[in-house]
């Protein structure tokens, strides 16, 4: 039972985690202030015989303080978030050099479409791997989410990335992995009875391994 985020492995994960911890601290303070205050008051001001409460109707000064402080705080939180949000989800936040993939999403599987030899999506030599996304480390990847039936949501906890895939909408999202390894992909939007097992894997290769993997894969594709 802990408030520490699990290890992250993408470029913008750091920013997101930082914001999370920042808010954790701020709300933590607010939490302590309120709960401690309540506790103090219920003990200190519990009813005692022969005592009468003080007739206090309020205090403009106090109220201005506890209006202004939260107001300023949330505005700061908002401003700090705006930049991160823009760079993760902004309309043209996707880096130029990102490797494009189409992802055909349906109940209850992910088809990851790779560019193939010609380096172009939507051509004959594209090949598809079901529920397996292989990407190189330290290079941005852009996913065009193409839902074919209902709404699903592409979620890689380790990369702090989540994006709904809505049928009829061309939605793309991107991320850049920073750690070699295998990570789980989950579907985060209720999409039917198989929602809970709509699981896939993303494998992050070192640059060399990735080239190797691609070579094997294209070779395999040619044989068919």
């Amino acid at each position: 039972m802990s408030w520490i985020l699990p290890p992250s492995a993408s470029t913008f994960a750091g920013d997101i985690d930082f914001l999370y911890y920042l808010i954790l601290v701020i709300t933590g303070i607010a939490f302590v202030v309120v709960e401690a205050g309540i506790l103090l008051f219920v003990i200190k001001y519990r009813a005692r015989p022969g005592r009468k409460a003080e007739y206090i109707e309020g205090s403009t000064k106090a109220e201005i303080i506890w209006t202004a402080v939260p107001a300023v705080t949330v505005v700061i939180i908002g401003l700090m978030s705006a930049g991160v949000w823009n760079n993760v989800k902004g309309r043209n936040s996707t880096p130029r050099n990102a490797i494009p993939h189409q992802v055909n999403v349906r109940q209850f599987e992910w088809d990851f479409v790779y560019r193939g030899a010609d380096g172009q999506l939507g051509t004959a030599d594209d090949f598809t791997v079901r529920n397996q996304l292989h990407i190189p480390v330290n290079q941005p990847v852009a996913l065009q989410l193409n839902a074919e039936d209902v709404i699903h949501s592409f979620f890689v906890p380790a990369f702090r990335v989540k994006q709904d895939a809505v049928p009829g909408m061309a939605i793309s999202t991107w991320f850049e992995a920073t750690e070699v390894g295998e990570y789980e992909i989950a579907c985060a939007e209720l999409c039917g009875l198989g929602h809970y097992r709509m699981r896939a894997m993303v494998t992050v290769h070192s640059a060399a391994d990735y080239q190797q993997w691609l070579a094997d894969r294209t070779a395999a594709a040619d044989e068919e």
């Binding site: 914001l19 219920v42 519990r46 009468k52 409460a53 007739y55 109220e63 809505v166 809970y196």
Partner: protein, 589 residues
């Protein structure tokens, strides 16, 4: 239709002529009876919702074990006691639906809106008593219909209480058609009931306040219920409209949410949340209102900053209309729009802060009596704050990328809706029980119920934050499918066990509620030494409430006023210093 007969009725009734049992208790037009009727209905649904929650919890805690007694469920739901995924989805959907629409909403708006408004503003009844009765008797069939959905071919609606299209709009994705349509019809019918009720409340508050009951002498509970009624009036029709469109997509082949032919799935989300966020404030504002009353009474002090409390309610209600997009940050909605929604959402922290700290200010230097209602009220403040603060995480778009649709949200939901609304409901029920039934509830049992609920409630829901922080998705039937969730299995078991206990420790309350009705000690007119108009009349008040029109001389929170010996001062008590608004005919509208 509105006719003269309607509003003249209560006057006619006050002439002592005996009503048949049927007219008196079943088809009564007395706002107090209708309030009690709403309460009994809501209790039943609260239990249903609670039991569904237990099944959900069992599945999450012990995915591989048969549900105890699950063998009793039909094959289509739980063959051999093991829940089916599709049935789990229906359970989650209906748990949310029942709790929000048929438990908490009727408890707050239906019960206390009905019971308190006329009593607290000094009116003999609602403006339209028959409409009021109609509103209840429309709500009941809606509820029965909603439960019936479980027993139809294909099972009940299973697209979540948010009913996202196209999952909900096309049977081929869930295999549910009849159940889905029943859900939509029931919601539309309930919507009609809510709208009639809201119309009634608003008219009553605006037009039927007793002489001297000016706007700023109204108790915060009435202010909250009034503003809530406005939200109901304007938000519910949006849901009804959307539900009807979805219903047509299901039945007569329209294409509103069908992306294959020009429809827009996102449109459903916009419409639903444009209703949905005001809805969640419908579920918290009345709670805040009654809690304000009870905290003032318990602390024997005026509410700290009464006026700013009123403006905070209004501010929250207003902001509630321009934040709906915060449910759709990851939906593919225009990111720039997301940014504006983030700011507006964060701003709601401000009026909420005012309320929180003013409650604390009310207790500050008070002379606090810990009667059961007060315990629940303080519990409300302590718990609502947690739910509110978790809201700030989700309002922050980048953080929401990670925690959206995880148990962090589920934790939030339950901190605001159980820790918030339901604790306030316990507070209000125990506080006004004497006035409703003329008998006191047993305080010892009440205290036991509070403490046990408080403990197991937190043990159940607080860890859900941690599940969410770890990335645990919501609405999943079997967490053990994912490796990264494996470490959370023990925590899930822990939560489940406490959830079961949480249900069990509601029994003292149930017992207390039922037994006190028959055996509880007789209640005096004003057991809590409070100031409101409802405490000037017998418990329970007669049909027509007030023997003659009360005149109001002051605000509702004149506790420990230096003007008098005792530490409370009824709103109707005339001191030599007061001038008589009735005589002066003065009334600021």
């Amino acid at each position: 239709m509105a006719t003269s007969a309607v509003s003249l009725e209560p006057a006619a009734h006050t002439e002592a002529h005996e009503l048949s049992f049927l007219r008196k208790y079943i088809f009564s037009t007395d706002h107090k009876i209708i309030g009690v009727q709403f309460m009994l209905m809501s209790w039943v649904f609260l239990v249903f919702g609670g039991l569904m929650a237990m099944m959900i919890r069992w599945q999450l805690g012990f995915p591989d074990r048969a549900l105890p007694g699950g063998q009793l469920l039909p094959e289509t739901m739980a063959p051999g006691g093991i829940l089916l995924p599709e049935f789990y989805n229906s359970l989650v959907t209906m748990h949310g639906t029942i709790m929000v629409f048929f438990a908490i909403m009727p408890l707050l708006v239906g019960v206390f809106g009905n019971f308190l408004i006329p009593l607290k503003i000094g009116a003999p009844d609602m403006a339209f008593p028959r409409l009021n009765m109609a509103s209840f008797w429309i709500a009941v069939p809606a509820g029965i219909l909603m439960m019936a959905g479980f027993f139809v071919e294909g099972g009940h609606a299973s697209a979540g209480w948010t009913q996202y299209a196209p999952l909900s709009s096309d049977p081929q994705w869930t295999g549910v058609s009849t159940g889905q349509q029943i859900w939509l019809l029931s919601i539309a019918i309930l919507g009609l009931a809510s709208i009639l009720g809201a119309t009634n409340y608003i008219t009553t508050v605006v037009n039927m306040r007793a002489p001297g009951m000016t706007w700023f002498r109204m108790p915060l509970s009435i202010w909250a219920l009034f503003i809530t009624a406005i939200l109901v009036l304007l938000a519910i029709p949006i849901l009804s409209g959307a539900a009807i469109m979805l219903f047509f997509d299901q039945t007569i082949g329209t294409h509103f949410f069908d992306w294959t032919d020009g429809g827009q799935p996102i449109l459903w989300q916009h419409l639903f949340w444009y209703f949905g966020h005001p809805e969640v404030y419908i579920l918290i504002l009345p709670a805040m209102g009654v809690v304000s009353d009870i905290i003032a009474n318990g602390s024997r002090k005026p509410v700290f900053g009464y006026h700013s409390m009123v403006f905070a309610i209004i501010a929250i209600a207003f902001l509630g209309w321009i934040v709906w997009g915060h449910h759709m940050f990851q939906s593919g909605m225009n990111p720039t729009l997301g940014m504006t929604f983030m700011i507006s959402t964060l701003l709601i922290a401000v009026p909420s802060a005012i309320k929180t700290f003013n409650w604390m200010g009310t207790m500050w230097r008070g002379n606090i009596r810990f009667h059961v209602p007060m315990l629940h009220a303080v519990g409300f403040v302590a718990m609502f704050v947690i739910g509110g603060l978790s809201g700030v995480f989700m309002a922050t778009t980048p953080v929401d990328i990670y925690i959206h649709d995880t148990y962090f949200i589920v934790a939030h939901i339950h901190y605001v809706l159980f820790g918030g609304s339901l604790f306030a409901i316990f507070a209000a029920v125990t506080y006004w029980y004497p006035k409703m039934f003329g008998r006191m509830m047993n305080p010892a049992l009440g205290k036991i119920h509070f403490w046990l609920t408080f403990i197991f409630y937190n043990l159940t829901f607080f860890p859900m934050h941690n599940l969410g922080v770890y990335g645990h998705m919501r609405r999943i039937y079997d967490p053990s499918q994912y490796e990264f969730l494996a470490p959370l299995a023990p925590l899930n078991k822990f939560i489940t066990i406490n959830a079961l206990l949480l249900l069990v420790v509601q029994l003292p309350f149930v017992w207390n509620f039922i037994m006190s009705w028959f055996k509880g000690e007789q209640a005096t007119d004003n057991p809590w030494e409070a100031n409101g108009l409802e405490w000037t009349v017998p418990s329970p008040p007669p049909h027509g409430n007030f023997a003659e029109v009360p005149t109001v001389y002051r605000g509702p929170y004149e506790y420990s006023s230096p003007l008098v010996e005792e530490d409370y001062l009824l709103q109707t008590r005339k001191l030599s210093s007061d001038f008589d608004p009735a005589a002066a005919g003065a009334q600021e509208g």
